[in-house]
């Protein structure tokens, strides 16, 4: 499967590593920030060192940047930046302009998440998913809480042994 991930924060980096290790072709887009505070940090610091995919520095709502990331042959696009609006824009571009079959956008505002889901854009809200999971854990709801936690903890255990990628020096 060819996957484009827009936004390489903790979630994006984690998922990119996971899919890459399963043998999928992954490219990751993260914005080149102009603020000095951000430029000091490495852009793709959350990727595991074993990551074999592509990293593209650029705006994930820019058609050219998305083309560079291989969106024209992508089977899926995941929009996982910190901005709900940017994620919704990237997801719509992928679905409506490039015809990507599977598109998922992280939208933390539940109202926006629901509105766009009704419009046919697959969204998920960290707010409601994490909230629901925590509630399930508190109530020891085995059906919801345990299965997910077991999987997540297994991934975490693998990550502990993973050496951290050497930070890319900001240009």
């Amino acid at each position: 499967m060819n996957v484009v991930i827009v936004g390489c924060g903790r979630v994006g980096g984690f998922l990119a590593g996971l899919l890459d290790s399963e043998g999928h072709r992954v490219s990751v887009v993260d914005i080149a920030s102009t603020t000095p505070a951000r430029a000091e940090r490495a852009w793709f610091q959350h990727l595991p060192s074993s990551f074999k995919g592509e990293t593209i520095l650029g705006d994930g709502t820019d058609l050219e940047v998305l083309r560079q990331a291989g969106i024209e042959r992508a089977d899926s696009l995941l929009a996982l930046t910190e901005g709900d609006n940017r994620n919704l824009m990237a997801a719509q571009i992928a679905q409506k302009i490039f015809g990507v079959k599977q598109v998922i956008a992280k939208v933390n505002d539940p109202v926006r998440a629901q509105t766009y889901r009704e419009m046919g854009i697959n969204t998920f809200s960290r707010t409601t998913i994490l909230g629901t999971l925590l509630q399930a854990m508190l109530q020891e709801d085995r059906e919801v809480g345990e299965v997910l936690m077991r999987k997540a903890l297994a991934h975490e255990a693998e990550m502990v042994h993973e050496p951290v990628k050497t930070p890319v020096k900001a240009r």
Binding site: T61, L63, D84, L88, M89, V111, R112, T115
Partner: protein, 218 residues
Amino acid sequence: MYFVVAGAGEIGFHLSQALLEAGHEVTVIEADRRRANFVQEKLGSIVMNAPADEGRAQMEAGCSRADALIAVTGDDAKNLVICQLAKIRCGTPRVIARVNNPKNEIVFKTLGIDETISSTRVLMNVIEQELPSGGFMPLMSLAGSANELIEAEIAIGTPPAGKTVGSLRLPSGALVGGIIRKGKLLHADDDTKLEVGDRVMVFSPTASESEVRKALFG
């Protein structure tokens, strides 16, 4: 008429002021408290201090009874979502988005926002009219191929003015897809005569762009 303006930056502030002076009813939504206070001092209590990209703020601002919403923040993605939310959740009949990156005009149109304003584009148009080779605009590259769509305006004294489409010396692989004449889209075949002011839509291999320019401007 009743207008909701999303974003009280320089454009939003002056736009709201102009609309008020023209006798319209205005609510301006601004997320930054200090900026909201400033605008309130200048324009009176027409300001709502809230994020305009949230459905609740739009409801409270009365987007469902507004004649139009104009999103003029400095963030294109935000303007897109503000307009889409107003259209879908509030049924605002007319939404207009400011586009900061002119490349996003076509993106917004594809995503259902019919009216966009790009200050960059407006300035470019003014400048281009002053230039002899003006009116030649590669609009977009076509997904999945090495082709692009070019819009070119037929100028006085250029080779195609008064000639037929068939007589254009376009490079191989390039074709005229249509003509916009006085705001109307016309079908173009080889016998269609080109007039000064026509906007010709040319599909062309991206590599042949300079040859298309030569065919149209000499």
